[in-house]
């Protein structure tokens, strides 16, 4: 069956051999899992969130398991864009699998700076813009919480690069469709829905929040129906490809997102549980298509809408 997924066409487009990639922040820079799975068989590899300067991240504890999921408050720990370019990109340039760099900033300008810097780096095939981060100049409100700020970040990135631009939306908003439309109007090529849902846990023995940072982001199967509904709503209103993300653990889960309008999917927390799940999901989609007599994956995208 034909699982190729063209998210962005053209010479500097984004064409994947299958629709399954890892979610940012759960797969390091691609090499961490390479002794367990053949990463070249993925649709794409998405890197940890990258900022202009390196970041140390949040205090421990950063992880807390929850029913069918987990909270994390990593705090965007990363080595910074120059170290990524010097230490990681040369290896990516030798890979068959496209590498998408996830970028994050604390002011609008940061995103444009990152985009123009990465635009000229060999081994980088696309950018994924994390707009769930707090905008320091706007008092810490997430960029992704307002259609205006989300659009501003998107415009800054799109005008600073010739790379395909994926904008990854935060689910912590009152109307995801409004944000999706604003980002699309601002020139995003692809949307990714969604990032983690805000959540926390209290340690009843110490009577304090469990996570060092007070709150964190929830991911894993627990959030799947919420993420799926957001993809379903957004797909009805925007005409650019959507990458579905949130709680996907099996091929059936991925197919739900695809039928709800996603052209591709990302898997995060579930592959901590089973590192073989990324490739199993791609295989499972292939088997489903074979069984159902579906030749092209695109025939399934949005059929449930």
């Amino acid at each position: 069956m034909d699982l190729t997924t063209e998210l962005v066409s053209g010479t500097r487009g984004l064409k994947l051999k299958n629709p399954v990639m890892n979610a940012s922040g759960t797969f390091g820079y691609g090499t961490e899992y390479s002794s367990l799975i053949d990463i070249q068989e993925l649709g794409a590899v998405v890197t940890k969130g990258t900022t202009i300067e390196s970041r140390a991240g949040n205090p421990q504890p950063r992880l807390k398991e929850t029913p069918a999921g987990m909270l994390n408050s990593i705090g965007l720990q990363n080595i910074g864009v120059e170290a990524v370019i010097a230490q990681k990109a040369p290896l990516w340039a030798t890979w068959r699998v496209p590498v998408i760099v996830n970028i994050a900033g604390s002011q609008v300008e940061d995103y444009a700076v990152l985009a123009s810097r990465l635009s000229v780096v060999d081994g980088v095939s696309g950018l994924e813009v994390n707009i769930s981060c707090p905008n320091v100049k706007a008092g810490g409100v997430a960029f992704g919480a307002s259609p205006r700020m989300a659009a501003e970040v998107t415009r800054g990135v799109v005008s600073s690069t010739t790379l395909p631009v994926i904008v990854k939306l935060s689910p912590n908003v009152s109307d995801i469709v409004e944000i999706a439309v604003a980002v699309r109007e601002a020139g995003a090529h692809v949307l990714c829905l969604v990032n983690t849902l805000r959540g926390t846990a209290i340690d009843i023995n110490s009577r304090r929040p469990f996570l060092g940072n007070g709150m964190g982001g929830l991911s894993g199967p627990a959030i799947r129906p919420v993420a799926l509904a957001m993809v379903y709503q957004a797909a009805k209103m925007v005409d650019i490809p959507i990458i579905g993300c949130g709680g996907i653990a099996t091929a059936a889960d991925a197919l739900e997102f695809i039928m709800a309008g996603a052209s591709a999917v990302q898997v995060g927390a579930a592959q901590f549980v089973d590192p073989s799940s990324l490739l199993r999901i791609a295989e499972g989609i292939d088997e489903f298509m074979e069984r159902e007599g579906v030749k092209y994956l695109s025939e399934l995208v949005g059929v449930a809408l």
């Binding site: 922040g25 390091g28 421990q60 901590f272």
Partner: protein, 252 residues
């Protein structure tokens, strides 16, 4: 590093709330294991508990390996119910273990509670290499003490209980500080409070002291950055740079 469905060979309750699990894991043992490395065990097949549980490699015999664990919550309760013939999905060997410096012939191993788990493997290897091994076994009370019959033959063992119900009364960290000058190297595994007490009771930072750290882990391979600790050498991942670190490099 391998992902493997390991077959349970036996599961024995060896002490109050403590289990010894022997598994057949040719893939993992075949990739070469070192003392202090660990495995990530999937507990059951549902999403609750969700994450894998880290367990140190306690012993290796050919294609078989053992873990020892204390029943604490959801994950270990499921592991405790495993029977011979069941399978456990494991990742391993993971992380970096203890490193015995060349020329270190006289080792002091300091175990807090079930911290004895990886130190047994270390003692096995060190004894086979001709080292002399002294193992300090610290436990709150005699009934939680790791059974004598499972300790490495040839190691000299001293038991320390907090309540004095067996051996020396007191803290294993105090005894370690008292004895350390007689040894070439110290390797410890126990709660963070034990390492803090070791530092406070004057285990000199210049000596070769290695300790195994614990934090919550998700991936086990250095990908999620959930287990980052600040050290004198910068940020380190407990799961992949550790779990074993030089005590002198830690900020405790």
């Amino acid at each position: 590093m391998k992902q493997e469905l390991a077959r349970v060979l036996s599961n024995e309750e060896i002490m109050e709330g403590g289990h010894l699990l022997w598994l057949e894991a040719p893939g993992i043992t075949g990739s070469g294991t070192e003392p202090g490395q660990y495995l990530m065990l999937r507990c059951g097949t549902s999403y609750d508990p969700f994450l894998r549980r880290p367990m140190s490699i306690h012993r290796v015999m050919g294609e078989r390996l053992a873990v020892v664990f204390k029943v604490l919550g959801k994950g270990t309760t499921i592991l405790a119910a495993c029977k011979a013939g069941d399978s456990i999905d494991m990742l391993g060997p993971l992380g970096h273990g203890f490193h015995i410096e060349r020329g270190s012939l006289n080792l002091l191993l300091v175990a807090g509670g079930l911290g004895v788990a990886p130190l047994t493997f270390l003692a096995d290897e060190a004894l086979a290499d001709g080292c002399r091994v002294t193992l300090l076994l610290g436990t709150p009370t005699a009934s939680w003490r790791f059974p004598q019959r499972l300790l490495p033959e040839g190691a000299s063992v001293q038991v320390v209980t907090e309540d004095g119900s067996e051996g020396t009364r007191g803290l294993v960290s105090d005894l370690a500080a008292e004895l350390e000058s007689d040894f070439d190297m110290v390797c410890a595994c126990g709660p963070a409070a034990m390492y803090k007490a070791m530092v406070d009771s004057g285990i000199s930072a210049s000596r070769k002291v290695q300790v195994s750290l614990e934090t919550n882990l998700a991936c086990g391979v250095g990908a999620c950055l959930g287990c980052t600790v600040q050290t004198r050498l910068g940020l380190k991942q407990v799961c992949s740079d550790g779990p074993v670190f030089d005590l002198a490099d830690l900020l405790i």
